[in-house]
C-alpha cells in the first residue's frame, strides 16, 4: 500500500467512527424520546 492508501484509510476510518457514533447516539436518543410519556419535561 502506498502513502496515499494509508492516508485514505486513516481519513475514512475517522469519518466512519465519527459517523457511526453520531448515528448510534441519534438513534438511541430518538428511541428513548418516543418511549417517554408526553408530559415528561425531558422529552
Amino acid at each position: 500500500m502506498s502513502d496515499v492508501g494509508y492516508i485514505a484509510a486513516a481519513w475514512s476510518a475517522t469519518a466512519a467512527v465519527l459517523a457511526a457514533y453520531v448515528v448510534r447516539v441519534a438513534v438511541r436518543t430518538r428511541h428513548a424520546r418516543r418511549s417517554l410519556p408526553d408530559d415528561d419535561p425531558r422529552r
Binding site: 496515499v4 494509508y6 486513516a10 481519513w11 476510518a13 467512527v17 453520531v22 428513548a32 424520546r33
Partner: protein, 270 residues
C-alpha cells in the same frame, strides 16, 4: 405514605433527581456547534491533505498526524472530564446524578477516541516505522488505558442499585486516570520507538514548521468541538435513558403493588 408510592430508600434515583433539562447546551447552541464542528473538520481535511506540506523525512504519511494527535488529545480531555465529574460526585457537597451521568458520557467518548488513536497510530506506524504495532512504552500504556476504561464502561452497565453503581464507578474512574499522565509522559520517561511530544513537550517549545503547526492546532480545535458536541448529545441520551429506566421500574413496582394482597409491599426493591 400511601401504599402506591415506592419507598425511597436511596437505592433508586427516582425521576425527580434527574436534571429537568437533559441538555448541557441550549438547543440552538448545539445546532450551531454541530455545523461549526463539521466545518472545522472539513477545513482540517483541506489543510491536512493539501494545505500542509509533506514532511521532509516521513513524506506524506506524516499527514495522519493531523488526525492521530487530535484524537489522542480528545481522549485525554474526555478522561480528565470523567475524573473531575467523578470527584464532584464523590464529594458529598456536590453529589449529584448529573456528575455521574456526565462522567459516563465522557468516558464513552474517551474509549471511542482512544481506540481511534490506536488505529490511526497503527496506520501511521506501518509506512513510517515499518511495523503496525510495537511493544514500546507509549503504545503499551495507551492499550492499557483503553482496557481500563473499557472495564469502567462495563462497570457502569452492571445491574445494581444506582447509588452503589455510581459510587463504585466514580472510584474506578479515578483509579484508572492514573494511567493518563503515564501515557503522556511515557515518551519522556522511557526510551521508546514512539517519538516524543512535539507540541506539549517539556520545553514547551513546539518543534514544528508554520503551516504544519497551524494544521495541527486546527485539528486540536476541531476535535475539541467534536468532543463538546458529542458530549452534549451523549449526556442527553444518558439522561433520557435513565429517565426511561426509572419510569419502567416505577411501572413494574406499581404493578406488583397492585397485585399484592397486603397494602405494604415487602422487598420490592433489591
Amino acid at each position: 405514605m400511601t401504599a402506591a408510592k415506592p419507598p425511597d430508600n436511596g437505592h433508586r434515583r427516582g425521576v425527580a433527581s434527574l436534571p429537568t433539562n437533559p441538555r448541557l447546551l441550549p438547543r440552538r447552541v448545539s445546532v450551531v456547534l454541530g455545523w461549526s464542528t463539521l466545518a472545522a473538520l472539513a477545513l482540517l481535511t483541506l489543510f491536512g491533505l493539501w494545505g500542509a506540506p509533506p514532511d521532509a523525512v516521513q513524506g506524506d504519511a506524516q499527514r495522519i498526524m493531523y488526525l492521530h494527535v487530535p484524537a489522542a488529545w480528545l481522549a485525554y480531555l474526555a478522561f480528565t472530564v470523567t475524573s473531575v465529574a467523578s470527584l464532584l460526585y464523590l464529594w458529598p457537597r456536590t453529589r449529584s446524578t448529573v456528575w455521574d451521568l456526565l462522567a459516563g458520557a465522557s468516558a464513552e467518548l474517551g474509549v471511542v477516541f482512544t481506540g481511534l488513536t490506536l488505529l490511526l497510530g497503527s496506520l501511521w506506524g506501518r509506512p513510517v516505522w515499518g511495523i503496525w504495532w510495537a511493544w514500546d512504552a507509549r503504545l503499551t500504556t495507551t492499550a492499557v488505558l483503553f482496557f481500563l476504561y473499557l472495564g469502567y464502561l462495563s462497570l457502569r452497565r452492571i445491574p445494581a442499585s444506582v447509588e452503589t453503581r455510581a459510587k463504585r464507578c466514580a472510584i474506578a474512574a479515578l483509579i484508572a486516570f492514573v494511567d493518563v499522565p503515564v501515557v503522556h509522559l511515557s515518551v519522556n520517561w522511557w526510551r521508546t520507538l514512539h517519538q516524543q511530544a512535539t507540541v506539549f513537550n517539556p520545553e514547551l517549545n513546539p518543534r514544528i514548521h508554520g503551516v504544519m503547526a497551524f494544521t495541527l492546532w486546527l485539528g486540536v480545535v476541531a476535535f475539541t468541538l467534536v468532543y463538546v458536541y458529542l458530549l452534549d448529545r451523549r449526556y442527553q441520551l444518558a439522561v433520557l435513558e435513565e429517565d426511561l429506566e426509572e419510569r419502567e421500574l416505577d411501572a413494574a413496582i406499581a404493578q406488583r403493588v397492585a397485585e399484592a394482597p397486603s397494602p405494604r409491599p415487602a422487598g420490592v426493591h433489591s
